[in-house]
Symmetry: C2
Subunit: 354 residues, 2 copies
């Protein structure tokens, strides 16, 4: 494999010295970029885009051609795994993802099995390989998956939800069924991430988008415990390099110490947590990733710069910080704001690494 | 005024000894009760129900006739104040509250003024008086308002939002405009709550439903600072009794110490915070209210009892806890579950007060 030209992101995740704070943005290949929308239009649909390695490669690289980002992230959907389990993922216009066959009862649960990442998810590993070739060592490539609990939310609800009534009803009424789903999901996610690593992913991230909706004790039992299993099952090295793992529970700032304890290399944080406080709480156990409110990008370049500076100042001197937004970039973001952010972070962070 | 027959709720808010842990439920007068739906049908609409004191009184008392709750809460909407400012509140079918005239620019902001609670909001204070008469001292009556920031979210967005793009764009681009809205809102909320107290409310609660969507520093500047002003301006006594105040920022568990510092008597918590940890963090500064996940009420009575027991055990011995859900009760809740919860809390809490 080609030598990495910029390993700042990987070094920061491992809390090794860097010259500046690396930055990438969740959903950096997305609808705020006109070139993304053009490719998506050509693909015909979001799913066709995600399932065609050449097109997934194209959109993965688009933001890197605009901004000097320090990492690429596989363009895919977090629901590829349950789709590969046969649940029938589809996108209803303006409604977000849905499943044709949600998992609601004992019979549905009994049918679940972890998909073979080399078969049903081959389009993902093919995309990873193709993106690695196309990157030619510019920056590292991040692979990712939804967390076992977040996948279960969609699988049981059959789509998004604002109260998670169905999955939480199962949690409180039939915890055995939910645990069975989570066991299958944990195995599936582990194998899926390992397949991405084998295909060339140089770091992996687990998106626990909905873990933050759980009660504090339920979070530990139904989300964190299964992310711990996934992390424990991940390949630690590939191509002779450590493959760092990042765990991000949106809304999980209160549980940071517990998350930092599951064996991951880095913890993602949203904007509700002060990064300096967070660093004080976890010490040198993990790196931290985050945590600008993406809505800052609706302001002028000067404000973007000032708010980015506040995040950097809050983390303070030394390594172990990967700059990111605290959530995916909004489709309404002016690309100039993203450019202003990336250059502000690169420039303003240097004194903290001197 | 009639002597209170059950002052357990007020005593707990003031951290005075009680025989058991009092309980009420957010949105306890609501769509999960068939008798509520019958009254609402008679009223013709939600707004007609909220704006007709006799009907608001009727639904406020309904849950008390079913369950031995320890407090009543005024039936009203959190958006009465901006409606009284002339923004034109309406409810689009299945879409939640909307405003005909949202507040988006300098001209809109310049027109804002705090409404006269004795005029535009007279229907609310009339309802408070009528409910007090109807309660005849059974339990205390809670008055309430949305927080200045939460009201601003609806006023700027023109309705609910999943990303708060418009209000946060204003926050980052034109903080001066948002501060001006919040100043008006803080004055309006203070006068509104004081009018409710004058009409007979025996405790007041500020619902900061959307403060938890803010970045940690923005929360302090744009939500907490204005709630502090409101609390500082509240009448502390009425009818010779202290009128306790409760502040509830949903998703604000990380900021508990700061919230406990603004002069309120109690802080509401959602289910993501461990009540025992929270108590350790605030000590005897404030009482705590919460914090069962309302989804527990979809399980059987035995599970409801067990989960209620866990919340009580987490708080532990002594006074200063008002049991509640961490969010409004779901419209899909079986009323039997609410009954099971109230009796479990009353029964299981006695040993902690012995």
């Amino acid at each position: 494999m080609t030598q990495l030209k910029n390993d700042t992101f990987l070094r920061a995740l491992l809390r090794q010295p860097t010259d500046y704070t690396p930055i990438w943005m969740m959903r950096q290949a997305g609808r705020y970029l006109p070139e993304y929308n053009a490719t998506r239009k050509r693909a015909g649909s979001f799913l066709a885009l995600a399932k065609t390695p050449a097109l997934a490669t194209e959109v993965t690289l688009q933001p890197l051609d605009r901004f000097p980002l320090d990492a690429a992230i596989l363009f895919s959907d977090i629901l590829t795994v349950p789709d590969a389990m046969g649940l029938g993922l589809y996108f209803a216009e303006g409604e977000g993802p849905k499943f044709e066959r949600p998992v609601r009862d004992e019979a549905d649960v009994a049918k679940l099995a972890a998909p073979d990442p080399g078969a049903e998810l081959r389009y993902v590993t093919d995309a990873v390989s193709e993106i690695r070739r196309a990157l030619a060592g510019r920056v590292p490539l991040i692979g990712f998956s939804g967390s076992p609990y977040t996948l279960a939310c969609y699988m049981v609800e059959g789509g998004g939800s604002d109260d998670f009534r169905l999955v939480k009803s199962m949690l409180y009424k039939r915890p055995d069924l939910l645990h069975r789903i989570l066991e299958v999901n944990a195995r599936a996610v582990t194998e899926y991430l390992n397949a991405q690593i084998a295909a060339g992913a140089q770091a992996v991230m687990i998106f626990d988008t909905w873990g933050g909706s759980l009660a504090h004790d339920a979070y530990r039992e139904f989300s964190l415990a299964y992310m711990r299993r996934v992390v424990a099952g991940l390949a630690r090295e590939a191509e002779g390099q450590r493959v760092p793992s990042i765990v991000f529970t949106k809304g999980g700032g209160q549980w940071l110490e517990a998350i930092a304890d599951i064996g991951c290399d880095a913890v993602g944080l949203d904007w509700t947590t002060d990064l300096g406080d967070a660093r004080g709480r976890v010490g040198a156990r993990v790196a931290l990733q985050g945590n600008l409110d993406p809505n800052v990008l609706f302001a002028d370049a000067e404000t973007v710069r000032r708010e980015a500076g506040k995040v950097l100042a809050s983390f303070g001197r030394g390594s172990g910080h990967v700059f990111n937004l605290g959530h995916g970039i909004s489709q309404f973001t002016p690309p100039e704001s993203a450019a202003a952010l990336v250059s502000a972070v690169h420039e303003l962070s240097r004194p903290y690494h001197a």
